[in-house]
């Protein structure tokens, strides 16, 4: 079982994010300082509008901080141009979304292959990566199915395979079980937990669900853009349940 290292993969120092809407300033993240270690499994919690998704987007390089410093995988993201940031995302981070965001016109195989086309890999190497990722999520036999031929849980597992395929250090998931029934949600969380424990992936999950948060080693609670609680869990929910 992999444990978090003592090396921080994410460092926030007085990181601030301000949005402007209708001439009004909205402070979404207020001087947040935080270290997340490589191999950790972190749940970001808090009420709606507390800044969870904003923090996740900043860590994933989808947005830029208004102030402070943000270093992820050894790179100060504030120093990168939008093009460099896109390249950085392709190499270091993958996202899992609440509504899966699979491309409906592509098969499971092609969806998983999509981010790999951004990397310098041969067709055969890409195929190998895709097959491995689909095997890990237990959907190798459904690789030629389109999203509309899969259940919600299977779609999310394909989305996880897509996130895994590039072998990123960092997996960021925004409400990954929000659109799933309890059984599928359990399967997805089992999968994420095993990715963290067996493959050493650093995982950050935004969630409202205490059961989901219970899978994480560390729980961060945000309120009004401020880090209100940083709790390390000693009692993690066990990985259980069948994989469909």
């Amino acid at each position: 079982m992999a444990e978090p290292t003592s090396e921080p993969i994410i460092q926030l120092r007085d990181t601030t994010k301000i949005y402007y809407k209708g001439g009004e300033e909205i402070l979404t993240l207020d001087h947040v300082s935080l270290d997340i270690m490589e191999g950790d499994f972190v749940a970001l919690m808090g009420p709606s509008g507390s800044g969870k998704t904003t923090l996740l987007n900043l860590i994933g390089g989808l947005d830029s901080p208004t102030g402070g410093q943000l270093v992820v995988c050894g790179q100060d993201l504030g120093e990168l141009s939008p093009r460099e940031l896109a390249q950085w995302r392709a190499n270091h981070v993958s996202f899992i979304f609440q509504s899966f965001n699979l491309l409906p016109v592509l098969t499971a195989f092609q969806n998983v292959e999509l981010p790999l086309t951004l990397l310098p890999l041969s067709r055969a190497e890409r195929r190998q990566h895709v097959e491995t990722a689909l095997k890990i999520v237990g959907l190798a036999e459904r690789m030629h199915h389109r999203p509309d031929e899969l259940s919600g849980g299977q779609e999310q597992r394909v989305a996880i395979a897509r996130a895994l395929a590039c072998d990123p250090k960092l997996l960021l998931a925004d409400e990954p079980t929000g659109d799933l029934d309890a059984h599928s949600a359990q399967e997805v969380m089992n999968l994420l937990t095993s990715l963290n424990q067996e493959h050493g992936k650093t995982i950050i999950v935004v969630t409202h669900d205490p059961k989901v948060a219970g899978c994480a080693r560390r729980q961060l609670h945000l309120e009004k853009g401020v880090l209100a609680l940083d709790k390390r869990s000693t009692d993690r929910h066990p990985v259980a349940g069948p994989r469909a």
């Binding site: 987007n57 994933g60 989808l62 947005d63 939008p82 093009r83 896109a86 390249q87 950085w88 995302r89 392709a90 190499n91 993958s94 996202f95 979304f97 609440q98 509504s99 965001n101 491309l103 409906p104 016109v105 592509l106 092609q110 292959e113 999509l114 981010p115 086309t117 951004l118």
Partner: protein, 402 residues
């Protein structure tokens, strides 16, 4: 790195209704454009291919067409004796003095009169006009009011059949044969004996043209004869040109008019097609914001998103182009006719959908290629702004759930 092509072309089929409307709009423009170009090409080919590149034609100086020309027998005989005129197998010069006039004849369907070229031919006319051959009946007998009618004219006018008679002015003519000439404009003429023509229409010793086979290289013969015409005081009233070039010029005015009017019509219709494609693509972008956001989050650049949507729009246009081209094939070979504004005579021709575009794509299928390029251009223009909108989406905004 570009978004895979499969994403673009498969997305066309996702919004079936609006994609079908956009495809239909583009296909319609393609059909109209192809048909108009086929019309212009059919006319151009019928007229421009009438002349032979081996022949030279003598006309009155300054005359734009045979109808405006007057060539005196005396001047023609001087030229006939020159070595630039080829000699046939029987030792006779391949040289034809020809008369031409317009006669108006009622159309069989009662839709008005047609102005028809009536040509007075000489015994050597068939040697000069190589492609002209009898299809039905027999040739007219010399010294009679018998005539032969071009095949295209016989097709267009129901009352022009072998055995029929027609009256022009105070003269009665009997149709004894139908000739063909590889679909060129001679097939829109009536031919008769030049000597009877002259006495019937009181032409004296004036002909409209003298046409002859050049001896040796036509270009060298042309230059040589031009010099002779310049130098000989008896030949100051006439000029010479290559027969092929003459007929090509005859076709240009009308073909240009059809092309320009067709171009204006197509332009107006194309705007509609572009707007249709644009609407479809804007709807596609609005519907797929989260997909765009997802691709941006993976590391695809805004440029690759732009290309993906442009390719999708081009796929839409390609389907429209294919459907339009296939539909327009129905018009290929349909026979029609119009008044040639250069000669004011009725010229029959056929739609040539599989023909080329003069001066632009002069090869078989050129019309379909040019029309397909037009369709793709419509797709590109129609898709440009929606693709730009897609590429400019902020990833965080695009990923936000509605």
């Amino acid at each position: 790195m570009a978004v895979p092509l499969a994403y673009s072309y498969r997305s066309v089929a996702v919004r079936k209704g609006s994609s079908a409307m956009a495809v239909f709009g583009i296909a319609l423009v393609v059909v109209v454009f192809v048909v108009l170009l086929a019309l212009a090409e059919g006319f151009r080919r019928a007229v421009a291919t009438s002349g032979s590149p081996r022949n030279l034609i003598i006309l009155r100086k300054g005359a734009d067409a045979e109808m405006q020309s007057q060539v005196r027998r005396e001047a023609a005989r001087i030229i006939e004796e020159l070595p630039v005129v080829a000699t046939g197998g029987s030792g006779e010069k391949v040289f034809s003095l020809e008369c031409l006039t317009l006669i108006n004849l009622p159309r069989a369907d009662g839709s008005g009169d047609s102005y028809i070229n009536l040509r007075g031919a000489s015994p050597t006319s068939l040697d000069v006009h190589e492609g002209v051959r009898l299809r039905e009946g027999r040739w007219f007998r010399w010294g009679t009011n018998e005539v032969v009618v071009g095949a295209a004219l016989a097709r267009r006018l129901d009352n022009f059949k072998i055995g029929h008679e027609f009256v022009s002015g105070r003269h009665l003519f009997e149709i004894v044969g139908i000739f063909e000439s590889d679909g060129n404009s001679f097939e829109s003429e009536i031919w008769m004996d030049a000597n009877i023509f002259i006495s019937t229409f009181n032409r004296g010793d004036v002909y409209q043209s003298a046409i002859f086979r050049a001896s040796g290289s036509p270009a060298e013969a042309l230059e040589s004869l031009k010099k002779i015409l310049d130098d000989d005081p008896r030949l100051q009233s006439v000029m010479v040109q290559n027969e092929k070039a003459y007929y090509k010029k005859q076709s240009e005015l009308m073909a240009s008019v059809i092309t320009i009017l067709g171009g204006i019509l197509t332009f107006i219709m194309a705007i509609g097609g572009i707007v249709g494609a644009m609407n479809t693509m804007y709807a596609a972008v609005a519907q797929r914001k989260r997909e765009i956001g997802c691709m941006l989050s993976m590391g695809f650049t805004p440029e690759s998103i732009w290309i993906a949507f442009i390719v999708e729009s081009l796929c839409l246009a390609s389907v429209g182009a294919m459907i339009g081209c296939v539909l327009s094939l129905v018009f290929n070979g349909i026979k029609t006719g119009t008044t040639n504004w250069a000669t004011f005579s009725e010229t029959a021709f056929e739609f040539r959908v599989l023909g080329g575009v003069s001066g632009l794509a002069e090869f078989p299928g050129g019309i379909l290629v040019v029309s397909s390029i037009l369709a793709l251009s419509m797709g590109f223009i129609g898709g440009f702004l929606p693709a730009l909108q897609a590429s400019r989406l902020k990833v965080v905004e695009a990923l936000r759930r509605a």
